[in-house]
């Protein structure tokens, strides 16, 4: 991300999102009105649907958790000047890694199994991100397209596993593997699907990333590479290595998100395990201009929109993609607003 250096960053902070907050709902309202959708009822549901029951509130937190993990990772790659579009595949591979450990060592004591499965998830995600980094470094394919190709490949791998070696016994379904035994789920509150470990790990991740980027030498070097890789190289920072490392760390966090999807959300390896969470996290990070402190509120808001939007088809016969429209419009308006604010100061 490029910042105009002559403007103190703090001055651009509160105004830009505020302007976007005004413009984006305007756009969506016009859209609803033009498409003949009940405007007020739709907005009411979009803004409050997530809070209607204990279950939806829990779902919001459980969606915010992987979103936070991915956004934390993407904050690092953005700081290094990279667009990690391969994050979807990294989430998917994390889920595969997690499931592989769960299947390989069923006799281990459960807490150890969870730890190792999540470690396996992080490793698998990091490896998948490492592949993108290798393609970038030696194949000279931009990380954007390397990532996209690897996303397709990861989807292929998960489909193969679900339909082939890890097939649900006695079923030709390719939606997912056999569910895990109840005692292997991460501790979950009765009645709602809330496994507190997931949001806790998300919070921890974003906190650690903020600390590392703002306070450590490694973080400083990452940011230097992001601003000007050639200049950083002259100052003795191995730029290519730092970029690879940034991608690997992001992949590990995305992999952890994928692992948690398996252990705490789906309780199985399902074929669309990432279901767009990585791309949504990219939107979050773009909206906040990769500032870790703003990731938490925006990730929660986006998760709330997404959960509310799931209720649209049943309640109002409105397509749930409206959630994505609202999120995309917000980010686009934020980009515009940011430019306008920076220009005026």
């Amino acid at each position: 991300m490029s910042h105009p250096t002559h403007v103190p960053r703090w001055r651009a902070v509160p105004l830009a999102p505020l302007l976007a907050l005004l413009a984006a709902p305007g756009f969506v309202t016009v859209l609803l009105w033009l498409s003949g959708t009940p405007v007020l009822a739709t907005w009411q549901l979009m803004l409050s649907g997530w809070a209607s029951t204990a279950a939806t509130r829990a779902d919001t937190l459980m969606l915010a958790a992987p979103l936070l993990l991915c956004a934390a990772g993407l904050t690092i790659t953005f700081a290094a000047g990279l667009y990690n579009l391969g994050i979807e595949g990294q989430v998917t591979f994390g889920a595969i890694g997690c499931m592989a450990v769960m299947r390989a060592f069923p006799d281990w004591p459960t807490p150890l199994l969870w730890t190792m499965a999540l470690a396996g998830a992080m490793l698998a995600g990091a490896i998948w991100a490492g592949a993108a980094a290798l393609l970038r470094r030696y194949g000279r394919v931009s990380e954007i397209f390397a990532g996209l190709g690897l996303n397709f490949l990861a989807t292929g791998c998960v489909l193969y596993l679900v339909a082939g070696p890890w097939k649900k016994s006695g079923s030709a379904s390719i939606t997912g593997t056999e569910p895990l035994a109840r005692e292997l789920w991460l501790p979950t509150f009765e009645g709602v699907r809330l496994a507190p470990v997931a949001p806790a790990l998300g919070l921890l991740a974003i906190g650690v990333v903020w600390l590392v980027l703002a306070r450590s030498r490694w973080g400083l070097e990452i940011r230097a590479v992001g601003i000007n890789a050639a200049a950083a190289e002259r100052l003795g920072v191995p730029a290519a290595q730092r970029m690879t490392a940034a991608l690997a760390v992001c992949g590990a966090l995305a992999g952890l998100a994928g692992g948690l999807q398996v252990l705490a959300v789906f309780h199985a390896l399902v074929s669309n395990v990432s279901s767009g969470i990585g791309l949504l996290a990219l939107l979050v990070v773009l909206l906040v201009d990769a500032r870790p402190a703003w990731v938490l509120p925006v990730a929660l808001t986006f998760a709330a929109f997404a959960i509310s939007a799931f209720k649209l088809p049943l309640a109002l016969q409105v397509d749930s993609s409206l959630g994505g429209v609202v999120q995309g419009a917000l980010v686009l308006c934020a980009l515009i607003a940011r430019a306008l604010v920076v220009r005026r100061t």
């Binding site: 667009y83 292929g156 993609s321 994505g324």
Partner: protein, 334 residues
């Protein structure tokens, strides 16, 4: 394989690759002018959906294509406004537009999901279609497919044989020099990006009104992202870009062929993998081609024994292409 079968396969590849060719050439024009338009996939979906809806309501296929081109041009104009005028990162704006347009197409296209509508009619070229073999391959298609085939030499001729084409390439290579020579850099770039966007829009409608007639949720299944990759694979040259598109089309044809294979190892692999395999293979090819620009590869080639060295170096020289020098950097007036 007998020759009739081959002719039918080749015709299928030319037809199946048509939307991809139109979209990739649109993006080539845009990127040659120095602007990456990452919104391609979403733009194609939104334009395809609009084209289908307009065609359905008016009963006129041409109006459908016009509407699709307009939508593609409008989305491209938004990209120009935010990235060229307001100087936000082209990658960021393009990515957001890609997701936003995808969701918009799902939301607005909901009433048209799996509705039957109008379609381009088949139009064999008089006389030419009767030529044995060649007629089947080249001249027995819909007008959209002829358009895609004519667009390849047209784009090449415009880019490399006209004065405007020279200026266009200068915008992507040395915008400052073009500016010094009196070109209005940003308005010209915007103009070409909008034209490229209109082509992408037409490509979207080529799906909904011709090749995969009708509209369904995420109708293009990620083809737009592949178009972006093929532009790089094709080294921003219309002929090679088209070749890449047809290669991808051939991979898809091959995949459907294997999918129907008799029981055995190939038939046990789920069909979804066959649909995904061409995407993954394409990226691999991209990596191999781009790898040729790596100095280390050139050093290895130079160290080969004599009879191999010259052809290896020649092949590398043909393969390695550099991106337009100012690609993705928004021009700042000095």
């Amino acid at each position: 394989m007998d020759t009739t079968r081959l002719a039918i396969d080749l015709a299928a590849i030319l037809a199946g690759g048509a939307p991809l060719v139109i979209a990739a050439l649109g993006e080539t024009i845009s990127e040659r002018a120095g602007v990456v338009n990452l919104s391609l996939d979403g733009k194609m979906l939104l334009a395809g959906m609009t084209g289908f809806a307009v065609g359905l309501h008016t009963g006129d296929v041409l109006l459908g294509f016009a509407a699709a081109a307009l939508v593609g041009a409008l989305v491209a104009a938004v990209l120009c406004l935010v990235s060229l005028r307001l100087r936000q990162s082209q990658t960021a704006v393009g990515f957001v537009l890609a997701l936003l347009c995808t969701d918009l197409s799902s939301f607005l296209g909901n009433p048209y999901n799996r509705v039957s509508g109008v379609a381009v009619s088949h139009l064999p070229v008089p006389w030419l279609a009767d030529i044995p073999w060649l007629g089947t391959v080249l001249f027995d298609h819909t007008p959209v497919i002829y358009l895609s085939m004519l667009l390849i030499p047209a784009a090449w001729w415009f880019l490399f044989r006209t004065r405007q084409g020279l200026v266009l390439r200068a915008l992507g290579e040395r915008p400052a020099a073009a500016f010094a020579r009196g070109s209005a850099v940003v308005p010209l770039q915007a103009w070409y990006v909008v034209i490229g966007g209109a082509l992408v829009g037409i490509a979207g409608a080529a799906y909904t009104l011709d090749l995969k007639q009708g509209w369904s949720y995420r109708h293009t299944a990620g083809i737009g992202w592949i178009a972006l990759a093929i532009v790089i694979f094709g080294g921003w040259n219309p002929w090679r870009v088209a070749l890449g598109c047809y290669l991808f089309g051939a991979l898809q044809t091959l995949a459907t062929r294997w999918q129907g294979a008799p029981p055995g190892i190939l038939a046990e692999i789920p069909t979804q993998i066959y649909q995904l395999a061409p995407f993954a293979l394409m990226i691999l090819v991209l990596a191999l081609v781009n790898g040729a620009t790596n100095p280390a590869v050139a050093r290895i080639a130079a160290g080969l024994p004599e009879p191999l060295r010259r052809p290896a170096l020649w092949a590398l020289g043909r393969l390695s292409v550099e991106a337009p020098a100012a690609l993705g950097q928004s021009f700042v007036r000095p």
